[in-house]
């Protein structure tokens, strides 16, 4: 009986470990990628409306698509999230520079 309990605990622990690990690594399905990519594209479009897109955003978006086309949604999602962060930084730059540019002006 003791052996059985020990075996059950071990099995449960293993199952929990495996499911936990799977949950951590399986975060990037095709759906996740699509959502991350759409968010990045939307942010980059907003940067475009401010006339302030970055080349690195476009390159990282291209990397994301390339990875997803190969079926690597983990890499695709990671790149899409990075592209969104870059696009958001370019929006922040454009917004803050609306007044900050004056600090560089020669008087």
């Amino acid at each position: 009986m003791r052996k059985v309990v020990r075996a059950s605990i071990l099995s449960l622990s293993s199952a929990l470990l495996i499911s936990g690990a799977t949950a951590a690594f399986a975060a990037s399905s095709e759906t996740d990628f699509k959502a991350a990519y759409a968010a990045a594209e939307a942010a980059n479009k907003e940067a475009g409306s401010l006339r302030n897109q970055w080349t690195t955003t476009a390159a990282t978006l291209a990397d994301a698509k390339k990875a997803a086309d190969k079926g690597d949604f983990d890499a695709g999602t990671a790149s899409a999230k990075e592209a969104e962060a870059l696009a958001k930084a370019s929006i922040y730059q454009a917004t803050s520079e609306k007044d900050a540019w004056k600090a560089l002006e020669i008087h």
């Binding site: 475009g48 006339r51 970055w54 080349t55 900050a100 540019w101 004056k102 560089l104 002006e105 020669i106």
Partner: protein
């Protein structure tokens, strides 16, 4: 006028004057003053490089130290822009299919007029650059527009600049609020940081002229357009002002705007205006 009314009049005038002077600073702070800007801009560079004459600034990095200046003198003996210049002369005089030519589109047949571009077209309400005017000339005569960045456009502007060498930039801002707005937009673009590297045009060409960025010596913003178009060794060929603006943007990891967009036209207007009085030296050669 009796004494009493004279005193009243005097007090009213004094009050009005005090009001006017009191109100002036807040108006001045918001209203662009191109004359004061140009004066401060030129003073900044002449104070920073006291050994240079004003007209020397048009030589860009070659004006920044003696070694570079010697390189420029040697380069000018067999200038790399010569091929472009010859091509420009040929293209300029070649008639369009309808028999007309570029000369028909410009004042003085297009000779010796570079210093007047860009100008503010009050009819259109926008800045017109020389590159834009050349393509508009082509289109008005049934020819397809050419690339703004290099090749034929660089050759044509090289020839037109060459015929204007020594003539001081004479950019005018007419009494039209839209012209002042275009100037101000150009100024804002010049000083605005962009791209992932967070650089503005001023980061390199105001804050660091004469300093190295990797292997290159940065040119001062004063007179930077007087030498355009340029043959750049880095490009292995000629490039226009449009090429210079778009590559500056991509070098700082910003997506360049389309050549001759309103922003670039306004930027050229501002940068040319603050270099008023400096001679046209184009076409130029740069490392």
């Amino acid at each position: 006028m009796n004494l009493r009314s004279a005193i009243q009049f005097g007090l009213a005038a004094l009050a009005l004057t005090a009001f006017a002077f009191g109100a002036a600073p807040s108006i001045a702070a918001d209203t662009p003053d191109p004359v004061a800007d140009a004066k401060a801009f030129q003073k900044y560079f002449t104070d920073r490089f006291p050994k240079l004459k004003l007209e020397d600034f048009v030589n860009g990095p070659y004006s920044m130290n003696e070694d570079m200046h010697r390189q420029w003198e040697e380069k000018e003996q067999f200038p790399p822009y010569d091929f472009g210049l010859d091509l420009g002369k040929e293209l300029f005089s070649k008639p369009f299919k309808n028999g007309k030519s570029y000369a028909d589109c410009f004042a003085n047949g297009g000779i010796g007029i570079r210093q007047n571009y860009p100008y503010f077209d009050e009819k259109e309400g926008k800045v017109v650059t020389l590159e834009l005017a050349l393509n508009r000339c082509r289109e008005a005569n049934g020819e397809a527009p050419i690339s703004y960045l290099k090749d034929d456009m660089a050759a044509l502007t090289a020839y037109m600049a060459f015929t204007s060498r020594g003539k001081p930039f004479d950019i005018k801002i007419p009494a039209d609020p839209r012209a002042l707005e275009a100037y101000d937009n150009g100024k804002r673009y010049f000083y605005t940081r962009r791209g992932q590297l967070n650089f503005s045009c001023a980061s390199c060409h105001v804050q660091n002229p004469g300093e190295r960025i990797r292997a290159e010596i940065l040119a001062p913003a004063l007179g930077i357009l007087n030498a355009m178009p340029i043959y750049r060794s880095e490009w292995g060929g000629m490039g226009t002002i449009s090429r210079r603006f778009t590559t500056c943007n991509s070098q700082i990891r910003g997506v360049p705007l389309e050549p001759q967009s309103d922003e670039y036209r306004d930027l050229e207007y501002y940068l040319s205006y603050v270099s008023n009085g400096l001679p046209i030296s184009g076409p130029g050669a740069r490392p």
